[in-house]
Subunit: 716 residues, 2 copies
């Protein structure tokens, strides 16, 4: 299946243009066939004939059995119209079918134009699969693959990727469906030709991607056999509406703006106020209390000084250059002042005010977008709590300040989620580089943030709550690039039907079908969090854990009961429990009682002293065949919680000094002293959780998902 | 499909006995047919013939097309042997097939006895389904249902129930598979006759349940059409090993023993010790410190007094009656002392010692079982931490004491999980009636505990961690009965393949296939918890929440972002977001800003004062069409966390005074003050969680699952 030549391309353009000019949504079978042949998409031998004798002559030429179908631009669903007959095994059967089809078609729609009969070689029996493309408002052209029949229709076992796909991606699609094993042959069927199937996906995806006028391609069914694939039926629909043209900024331009936003030399507060309880007052106080080292310019039409800083009536009146303007004025004033801000040469604005699209005022929001573009001001929001960037001591928000610096950058589309981030961070002492409100995302978007955090040395993990994406492709491109070096954790709200409806009513955002989001985020290497708490815990822990160098996970547990639950959790998290080599098994057995269970989990049993934990954990760290440890601690008087926590930290730190860095997570089963023990472990970079076997393993699973997506692990 | 008569039954007995006497595992097709006809299981018209002329004569009688199959006791897999031909449409085709089949069978196995040819009416095209029974070591005879082909083989879309099933259960099975919608007809196919299919499940399940010699019945495929069902192929296998005969106690006998165990007048501590650090010392101190009001008898061969109580050298020497004996002596001494305990008339023993099956010493455990049965002593363990029963102030354990009394009874098979229960309970202040260690479960089992907790007025919710069940039917019977009045929450460890392996190495327990456990637990009305933390949170919250009276859930949120996530969580938890009636929508709108979103979620928006929360929550409680509320709080300076918590408690308590009891759960998004707010809500019986939208909704979902299973809700 090669590239179409220039002649093919112009033929296709002509077909699409003609169909568009006719006001048609669908191409005819003949037209669709031209497109398929140009892209090397296998279709059955066929010919349109206009007489019953010609039909028989053609059938004799290609061989029986054949299929006969009505050809009419007015009949889209041929089967329902009685216009299709299959398995015609002789000239007599074909002649009879011809008469029946013509009669049925005329009866179905007496006004339909009947152009003749399509005689087609009947395909051999094989596996029915579906290959197609569709156009998504967020992501553009997508290619889809699934098995035919109830698997797609009832169980929705189908997978999507951005079109076009290359061959490795097409192969990955084949193994992404739940019923993938069917392709290998089950119930005595031979395996299908997956090379041909993957090539077909590539070709179909290129066809749809090359011609923006194509809205949908539907090859249903494609018959896949051991010898190849062939599309039994092809439908090609034109795009209903033109694609949205998203504003794209060049990466270098994004970086320049973002650097000025996050590392400003000076910040103006538009609507700064001396009055307690006003947003313009909270912002001023937070900026000052946060320790921002640059200049702060309060802008207020009447004040001469606010919070001890000289105030200016307008941004134009500010003597020096300004990098960032934080808006704390009513929504209706924003466009005018944003223009002034632009004229002043301000790089970025933080638009706290609400009263835009989220309240139905889309015109005002569009006006702000227009002004921002015209005057070259990038902006956050509107309708946000602001932003925190701790390396700059920048606390440009009306919310409570936060000063525990660390490696995690977070963003949220909702203010409520922003407050939950803040509370969780403060409660757990999570070290943060940035917390950014995105709100209505009328300009600065997740891909802008990713582009900044990618180069930001203070950030080693990015976590984003999102309800929608405007330009899905821009996000995926950035996420794929950034994910290779830093984990990107995403909480996509509006996952389910009900959630998506709520998203619609909240921001007027288009919430995509969740299967599409799930496939595309996964393919981009994003670690998707199933819920808010998981996003927060994952963000907190990922930067703590070294990246594993292989898939072998070993559980060491003092509680057999925890071992079983931890094993369950490992399977749920997609982790591979190492099959223990005999020598390693013997080495563990040397440290544990004879009735303890070696193998994996290594069950050291509950009555053991600290030295047994110490020796087995040290062995797990030292043996290079083991890549990660999951520990199950059981509170006993022989090894109390803090004794365990201290020995664990000690063993891990000793290994670190010898250059051994492996992820270690712990589940602590015990009385309330385990909470203090967990805190001690966390303080030394070891994720440890009381009263749960699931969370520590889920965290390790997230690290593995990221490492695999980033290509840092062999195998799987 | 009726009940077989006595003649049928004895014919079946004779067939099974003869096959067993032959040492055969499988019945012949003829034999299987007799069983099917007796139970009204539809099979195709057929006859075994011994000549080609007789074959044609029979085919002419029943009509073409027919199927021809070799009949031989020596050929089990007829298709593989070339012994099956289908779709024979004429006498000529049948004659040709006869010759080919006989030749192929002879070639396949020259020594095979060929009894003739089975001529069978060929079934119409229809939906292929699988109906069968199997024998499970834990649950006995199970009936299974699934769709044919890849759905069962690749996606394992199959469902199980205890055999026999009644008609409502059979109907429930039909809708339990993921692809259930296929039965209703998809892709232009008609719906199949589900009444006939359900009746078939009933009949097959009765056949297998009526005759314990039957190990497996396999109707594969059954052809289901709009007009009925017919089993195209029937295999019946004999049971390989006889079923384990579990010891069953009568419910009244269980109650008598359990009452004495949980509410003893006197407790003896076998191996009581004055020496700090000994288990026999910890048990003594806990019993005394726990405030047990009955008599405590320390048993020690040499001491005259322990912890201020007179000691006795043997249990026989104790002057008064003894209800419970707690063992704190080495494992090897247990059988002898258990016999003495039995002779004394002690009702129940708490066997703390380890060194039994869990260390490979199955003989010692069997000996303890034998002694217990012979001398009429029921016992917990061995290999346990003991038990807590707070209404009796009974703290018969060597672990730390616990004294926050409340409605939750918990049990665990593992000591580690027991310690996690204790720590979680203390950390959250969860009120507990009992915490029971089950360990090796050589005698007292979950069904014994359920029988006690069922009548225990102190207990209104039961949560059990289990790794295996010995007598699965006894558990399910008890769980089904108890679940109708009190929720039974189960954490089944060893869910996954890896987990099940770990269970095997830990206790030698047979871990069942998880699909079987999942189906059977659900059918019994058990609320299954996916993990340890979920079990604990569910147990903590279920008793707090009133039982909903209907399915209409309404979300009221101050944070639109939380609303979206809460909606996602509701769908995940199987909750129904109420479709808001117009008048109710208008009533909510009257309280919220014009740009707030009514509908469901009701988004009151973030800048609202306490009165808006108050009015909307009150409306949600008052309107009888709403059955449960999910609240999303957003921390603002206008409505700070404790202000919200206090108004919420106030509104809910005010409604309670007016007799309005609805489940209300809350998700709190905000800075760390929300932790105190959550605690205030919990203290007043309202589950509220900070930094998560998932947990409060999952808790409500568990309440609904229980209420539906208990038949307390209409609809769905």
């Amino acid at each position: 299946m090669g590239e179409p030549g220039a002649a093919d391309r112009s033929a296709i353009e002509a077909i699409l243009a003609a169909a568009g000019a006719d006001g048609r949504r669908a191409l005819t079978a003949d037209e669709a066939r031209v497109l398929c042949l140009a892209y090397g998409i296998p279709v059955p031998a066929e010919s349109v004939v206009t007489s019953v004798d010609a039909a028989v002559a053609y059938a004799e030429q290609i061989g029986y059995p054949v299929v006969a179908k009505i050809v009419s631009p007015d009949i889209l669903h041929k089967t329902e119209a009685g216009g299709v007959r299959v398995g015609l095994a002789s000239a007599d059967e074909l002649r009879a079918a011809h008469g029946q089809i013509m009669a049925a078609a005329a009866a179905h729609d007496p006004t339909a134009r009947l152009h003749g009969l399509l005689v087609q070689r009947m395909l051999p029996a094989g596996l029915e699969v579906i290959v197609g493309t569709t156009t998504d408002p967020t992501f553009g052209t997508l290619v889809a693959f699934g098995l035919g029949g109830v698997l797609v229709e009832v169980l929705r076992d189908v997978t999507f990727r951005l079109a076009p796909v290359d061959l490795p991606t097409a192969r990955a699609m084949l193994s992404s469906i739940a019923a993938a094993r069917v392709l290998e042959g089950v119930r005595g069927q031979p395996a299908v030709d997956t090379a041909a199937l993957a090539a077909l996906l590539v070709a179909v995806s290129r066809l749809a991607a090359d011609f923006p006028a194509i809205g949908e391609v539907d090859l249903n069914p494609v018959i896949a056999t051991a010898d190849g694939v062939c599309a039994a039926d092809v439908r090609i629909l034109l795009r209903g509406e033109p694609a949205t043209a998203w504003v794209r900024h060049q990466p270098e331009a994004i970086r320049l703006s973002m650097r000025r936003l996050f590392r400003p030399r000076s910040v103006a507060v538009i609507g700064a106020s001396a009055e307690d309880g006003k947003i313009g007052n909270s912002v001023m106080r937070n900026l000052i209390a946060g320790g921002f080292a640059g200049t702060i310019y309060p802008i207020n039409p009447t004040a001469t000084e606010i919070c001890g800083r000289p105030a200016y009536p307008t941004i134009a009146a500010v003597p020096g250059p300004v990098d960032v303007a934080v808006f704390a004025i009513p929504a209706r004033l924003v466009p005018t002042v944003l223009e002034e801000v632009g004229r002043k040469g301000v790089a970025a604005a933080v638009l706290i005010p609400s009263g835009f699209a989220e309240t139905g005022n889309t015109e005002l929001q569009a006006e702000v977008q227009r002004v921002g573009r015209e005057f070259g001001v990038r902006f956050l929001g509107p309708n946000i709590y602001g932003l925190y960037y701790l390396p700059s001591h920048l606390c440009a928000t009306f919310c409570t300040p936060y000063d525990v610096a660390g490696p995690v950058a977070l963003s949220s589309q909702s203010g409520g989620i922003g407050m939950a981030i803040l509370g969780f961070a403060r409660s757990t002492g999570m070290g943060v580089s940035a917390i950014v409100g995105l709100g209505n995302k009328a300009d600065i978007d997740e891909d802008d943030l990713l582009t900044f955090f990618e180069e930001d040395e203070a950030t080693s993990c990015i976590a984003m709550h999102m309800e929608d994406l405007k330009d899905g492709r821009a996000f995926l491109e950035a996420a794929q690039r950034v994910s290779r070096v830093k984990p990107v954790v995403v909480l996509k709200a509006g996952r389910t039907g009900a959630g998506a409806r709520a998203a619609g009513s909240h921001t007027g955002a288009l919430a995509g079908d969740d299967r599409v989001y799930d496939d595309l985020l996964r393919a981009a290497g994003v670690v998707r969090a199933p819920g808010l708490r998981e996003m927060l815990e994952t963000a907190r822990c990922l930067p703590m854990m070294p990246t594993p160098t292989g898939e072998n996970v070993v559980i060491i547990t003092g509680a057999g009961g925890s071992g079983v639950l931890l094993s369950d959790a490992c399977v749920d998290a997609g982790l591979s429990l190492m099959v223990m080599p005999a020598d390693l098994d013997a080495a563990f057995r040397a440290f544990i009682p004879p009735f303890g269970a070696a193998g994996n989990p290594v069950d050291i049993t509950g009555g053991e002293p600290p030295s047994t934990y110490r020796k087995t954990i040290a062995l797990g760290l030292d043996d290079p065949r083991i890549h990660a440890l999951v520990l199950g601690y059981w509170h006993t008087i022989i090894t109390p919680p803090m004794v365990f926590a201290e020995l664990l930290v000690d063993v891990v730190e000793e290994a670190r000094r010898r250059g051994i860095h492996k992820p270690v997570v712990a589940s602590l089963a015990g009385d309330v002293e385990v909470e203090q023990a967990a805190a001690h472990c966390f303080a030394h970079g070891i994720p440890a959780y009381p009263y749960t076997t699931e969370t520590p393993v889920a965290i390790l699973g997230a690290k593995y998902r990221w490492a695999r997506g980033a290509g840092l692990l062999q195998g799987l």
